[in-house]
Symmetry: C2
Subunit: 367 residues, 2 copies
């Protein structure tokens, strides 16, 4: 969660940001429905406070399109399926568009046989995992979303960067309580947190990053010098092999199962770095799923127990200095309510980047 | 992973230990096929080096049977199902028996519609999660196994123990390489690791446990004084909310979805502690699943890429003092090969406990 409410950030109404993103996606040739969907997914990150995955990424997507690594008019196809599963080829489309289409297929499959699981190849960065998993909620289903990503993470005992921050999101509906929404990188800290420290010229806690020789580091710029992010757990003694194992599982389900690139072969998300010359698959991979609650238990029973679960945990006795126990999804939902009303604060560097992008694409600058 | 090869431990041939466990399960009234299965699951923990979940637990199961909290002749039933899902009621049976039966159902469902997922209520401790997930491998499927457990873990910012060590296991087949087998507690360290430190009178690293007031502790006996295990991540700054989120997900899939007890209502695994007086479900819960590889991609293609994945990661450049990068499942498989040949070392306290158990049940003592 990357909260950037600081004095230096100007705040913009959601409508203006929405129009900007939509006009950019239209300008690069996305069909109207794709442009609307991509905008919705992108803005959901800014609204939920995960600023690293929102408008801050827009110019990067455009640069990948300019480099012909993103296809604005993809033919998204099912290439293999069973009643409860599918593999989708994203045709180099925006992950922002490909992943929701895959999730729709998973939801259809779940409607038919109880659960649906779709592994996706030939895609690109899909924004926040939580957008896709949460699509299941309105259907009274549990939603799953994972993706692999550019290799920035060193497995336990490795100095090489072999995995992405490979997030896992699971969204579970409740009744009167808001849903439980887990959305986590499988690293100790996501890259967005390093970016905040970089902007503030602050050091990172030990356990987040290592040098190119695998030594502990507190330098938030370490990745530029060949350093790596560390899997959840921070070191072997504190279970980093578990975070590594989860990231590995995400990589395998997203890419080995679909025929995407995996591990160190995942293409970088930035246009100025070339993809590996010896790909082992197509594009990057995602893995999404939907589980129909009533394929297990009557929905009302399940939801009442979810409410009970959430209330019991939220009201547990806390450690000093905290007034409640965190329920996953609460901070992002509260942020979304706040920003929907008050607008989205954008870092000055992101504003400059968006202005430059608008100028380059001959779009009117709304900022 | 709890390796106990020390000078003090006598080593016993697998056959003798197998006979002992089988005779105990028969003696408490398990049908022959259940006794064989329970023995196989239990011994797999000792063979794979996860000593905390093997014979060390046998007398505890018997005490729960004596307290009428384990039913030796359960009628294990599907109570709700769809083509790809089921809820199984374990009828208070041994989890060692209930979980493999549930996994068989998941495998059948996967054969029919691509994947199969079974949530289980009214069960008991199921041994090592890896046994159940690995059942899928011989069918060219990916196997999943999770379970909730007695509350010993405090969520981030909680002083109350609300979750178990709630493990996640995912087993993924390869071709010439051995399978990838993740089997992890969602805590920084599993309880078995504390038990080793207790026996050796050593301190625990900071980040594993907290006092009853939520303060950091290095005392491996802290749980006896109301302390708690800490979720994977160790503290909020290092992502303990992620470990907590994973443990929560396991709890919800295993118990809220099936109708078992969840969170602080999960009955304790020891007979001298009474279950909560206000249960919210039946027994403890598991969640198992199977995904047919060829419901996504031809099996030989998948397995060749898994071999490539495993070889690339295993041969990565390592940090100082390590000669290879860990592949999940390797240490346990190597331990199984060693112990199958050389026998299983048992801690003297476990040997005494087993001798006492054999005497109490009027069984010949083979140790």
């Amino acid at each position: 969660m990357t909260y950037l409410y600081t004095m230096e950030n100007a705040v913009y109404p959601v409508k203006i940001l929405h129009e900007l993103a939509y006009s950019v996606f239209k300008k690069i040739g996305c069909p109207d429905d794709h442009a609307r969907l991509a905008t919705d997914v992108l803005l959901s990150a800014d609204l939920r406070g995960i600023d690293s995955h929102g408008l801050a990424r827009l110019s990067g997507y455009v640069r990948l399109w300019e480099a012909k690594r993103i296809n604005a008019t993809p033919d998204i196809n099912v290439v293999h399926e069973s009643p409860g599963t599918a593999v989708v080829d994203g045709d180099s489309g925006l992950g922002l568009v490909v992943a929701p289409k895959a999730m729709e297929i998973a939801i259809e499959k779940a409607r038919a046989v109880g659960t649906g699981w779709v592994s996706v190849r030939n895609s690109n960065h899909f924004g926040i995992a939580g957008y896709h998993s949460m699509m299941a909620l309105q259907h009274d289903m549990i939603g799953w979303a994972m993706t692999n990503a550019s290799p920035l993470v060193a497995p336990t005992f490795s100095v090489e960067r072999l995995l992405g921050t490979n997030p896992i999101s699971v969204a579970i509906p409740a009744d009167k309580e808001p849903p439980f929404v887990l959305d986590m990188a499988t690293t100790t800290a996501a890259n967005g947190k390093l970016e905040i420290l970089q902007r503030k010229s602050k050091e990172a806690p030990l356990g987040w990053i290592q040098t190119k020789d695998g030594k502990p580091s507190t330098n938030p710029h370490e990745l530029k010098d060949g350093g790596a992010l560390i899997p959840l757990g921070s070191d072997y003694e504190h279970g980093s092999h578990k975070g590594y194992g989860l990231g590995a599982m995400v990589d395998i389900l997203s890419a080995v199962l679909s025929g995407a690139n995996y591990g160190p072969w995942v293409p970088p998300f930035v246009a100025f770095l070339q993809p590996p010359a010896d790909p082992v698959g197509s594009g990057i991979g995602h893995f999404v799923g939907a589980m129909r609650i009533d394929a297990f238990r009557p929905v009302h029973e399940f939801k009442q127990h979810m409410d009970n679960w959430i209330k019991r945990f939220r009201s547990a006795k806390t450690t000093e200095g905290h007034d409640h126990v965190l329920i996953h999804g609460d901070p992002e939902r509260e942020m979304k309510e706040k920003r929907t009303k008050e607008g989205v604060p954008l870092n000055p560097k992101v504003v400059d980047d968006l202005k430059e992008l608008a100028a380059r694409l001959n779009l009117k600058n709304p900022l």
